[in-house]
Symmetry: C2
Subunit: 386 residues, 2 copies
């Protein structure tokens, strides 16, 4: 498309129909363009409620994906579930560009290749090894200490596909559970003694790149429960994380929005833990917290438009994830305190069914003092049943 | 509905499918609820691109409206095109509440009744009279001076349904054009010698009310071309306008979002010029300019939720309307300068066809100095072809 023009006939296609595509789609609507969605589920997904252009198919079918792609002007990902080789074929067959490109995605879709890619570029990563048998499970423990992590090299998210193992008995069971004996590549990762988990988002396209503030992600059972931005760490650390995030994006020639999660070790080093080629939970706070949200810059990036300012809108921003509290038809109860909070912003994703721990929405609070607003945001969301 | 709960099955229905419903709908999505739209046009309206729940029917048909209403949990207006008696019947027939209520709307849908209602409540309005014949055209001119305005008592917007008349010849033609000889009520309004046109939005429901800052609307040929908030007038004037706006909303027992336009006369008095029972062009700047936008508070108001803070996010906010520059398939050209502006926010409404003067989008800029950012916003949007 002409870089200077936005057309009402332009259609951005999302591969995936969850909250990340939904929040990106809301931004696409703000630019007057149309939203189409491809999902492997029939209906009732968050994006399916907000467009008449909904397609169902298999994430494994090049034909399904190419057929959808032909209806769209550009495609983008909201998850890592589709193989890069399938994306590449769908792109070739349809002639519709996919961002991030299948070749960028190929460098990070597999945890082993991802770590090698970034390590080769001089970006420190957590110590890791491909595990091929029981002996290597033992060797890794001896070298890096117990407990350590075992991860399926593909498809993990929010703690799924990850297991912490404290000894050989656990390691053997986890290896089996993760599919190690059925041909899946399993990666072992050393347990890192960290003080903070940090995250940085980068948007990039041919017009340049922008980097978001370095934030802290607060995790519980491998799920992000909250975010503090800027992260309560030294500015030099924040800058270093931003530099590494930019370098990582350049390394894979990423076009779109990318998120990087880092460990800040007790001795003050940064280790890249995970990367995501899409909007990320750690960046939800940017909707109100930054001049241009990660979703807006995601849409700008894939459309080839210039990227917007990532400046913070307040000295500090806190985000609390609203995780499902009940197994039921989704509904939000006892949100009055959150709705009444000045400078607070409630987001609900429109999922029809709630499950305990499922990401159902989030709440963002802007203020002057990072710790105080994070505590306050926790307090006003504490009673919410969702 | 339970005031404390938001359900993913909840459906808000918009009567009208233009940009006002679109921007409100985007907010509804943020709360995880569903959006349905009723329009008298088949397709390609801004809201029709963002929901699978689209109904076409006649604004004059109680059955059509009631049928749609039954699919929704609550209905709201985005224009003044449907008669309040029809809305009332549709509400009764469907059992679905409409906000603003048909009885509130009945007090302002007709310019004559509107002026009487507010005048009776002690709110100063522009001098006016119902015109029944040629003699009264003459009398009004003699009493209030030429030129003056003739307005159709119902259905006018953006200058349509309004004519300025400088003498009896023009008055007779305008009276005929506006339908005065075909049974339409025609209202004459004195020309007011004003220094500023001001506007204030008020959101109100059973939980209370909130009032937005008093802004200035810059008009050209009866169409709003821009907004400055806060208005560059004395704080006492701003407060007075806010007080009158709240009083007006209470007078009609309004539930939803309302906008009021005032003239600030040369001798420092405020006269209520027009009211609108819906989100209003004068409040588009609130999307980024205030903590809670007029659209968010509109959705909150009709859902019975507590209303959010209307505090400004910056010392000054400017909004420029992007009016159609060409007759063509809608597309935005030369918007790079606007997209590159830090703290600038581009909104395009997704209309498929552009017409000269049609409201196609808007641009909002935040900053410290009101006049400087308004000039700046004009400058960076000047080259846009849309």
């Amino acid at each position: 498309m002409d870089k200077n023009s936005l057309s009402a006939n332009f259609k951005i296609g999302f591969l995936g129909a969850g909250q990340l595509a939904r929040m990106s789609g809301l931004q696409a609507f703000r630019y007057g363009i149309q939203v189409a969605v491809f999902s492997d589920r029939d209906e009732n997904e968050p994006v399916q409620f907000m467009t008449p252009h909904s397609t169902t198919g298999s994430y494994d079918s090049v034909d399904d994906l190419a057929h959808f792609a032909k209806e769209c002007n550009v495609l983008t990902l909201e998850n890592e579930f589709i193989d890069s080789t399938i994306l590449k074929k769908a792109q070739e067959q349809s002639g519709t560009s996919i961002f991030p490109s299948p070749s960028s995605f190929a460098l990070i879709e597999n945890k082993l290749i991802e770590k090698q890619t970034f390590e080769d570029a001089g970006i420190p990563v957590t110590p890791y090894a491909l595990i091929k048998d029981e002996e290597e499970l033992e060797t890794f423990g001896e070298e890096h200490g117990w407990p350590y992590l075992l991860k399926s090299s593909k498809g993990g998210y929010d703690g799924y596909g990850n297991e912490t193992v404290a000894n050989m008995d656990e390691a053997i069971i986890a290896y089996e559970n993760l599919g190690g004996n059925s041909g899946r590549d399993i990666v072992a990762e050393a347990f890192v003694d960290f003080t903070h988990e940090l995250a940085v988002q980068v948007a990039r396209n041919e017009t340049g790149h922008v980097v978001y503030p370095c934030c802290e992600t607060v995790q519980k059972n491998h799920i992000c429960v909250g975010v503090k931005s800027p992260a309560p760490v030294a500015e030099s650390i924040q800058q270093k994380a931003q530099e590494l995030a930019i370098k990582a994006t350049e390394t894979i020639d990423g076009k779109g929005i990318f998120a990087y999660e880092f460990f800040l070790t007790k001795d003050g080093n940064l280790l890249l833990n995970e990367s995501a080629p899409r909007p990320h939970n750690s960046g939800h706070y940017t909707i109100e917290g930054c001049v241009t949200s990660q979703f807006e810059n995601h849409v700008r990036a894939v459309m080839g438009l210039p990227l917007g300012s990532t400046e913070l809108q307040a000295p500090a921003v806190a985000m609390i994830n609203l995780l499902g509290t009940d197994e039921r038809s989704a509904q939000v109860d006892s949100a009055l305190e959150a709705l009444n909070e000045s400078d607070g912003h409630l987001h609900i994703y429109g999922k029809l069914d709630s499950r305990v721990g499922r990401k159902m929405g989030h709440f963002t609070l802007l203020g002057d003092d990072g710790e105080a607003i994070y505590t306050r945001a926790q307090k006003v969301t504490k009673e919410i049943r969702i």
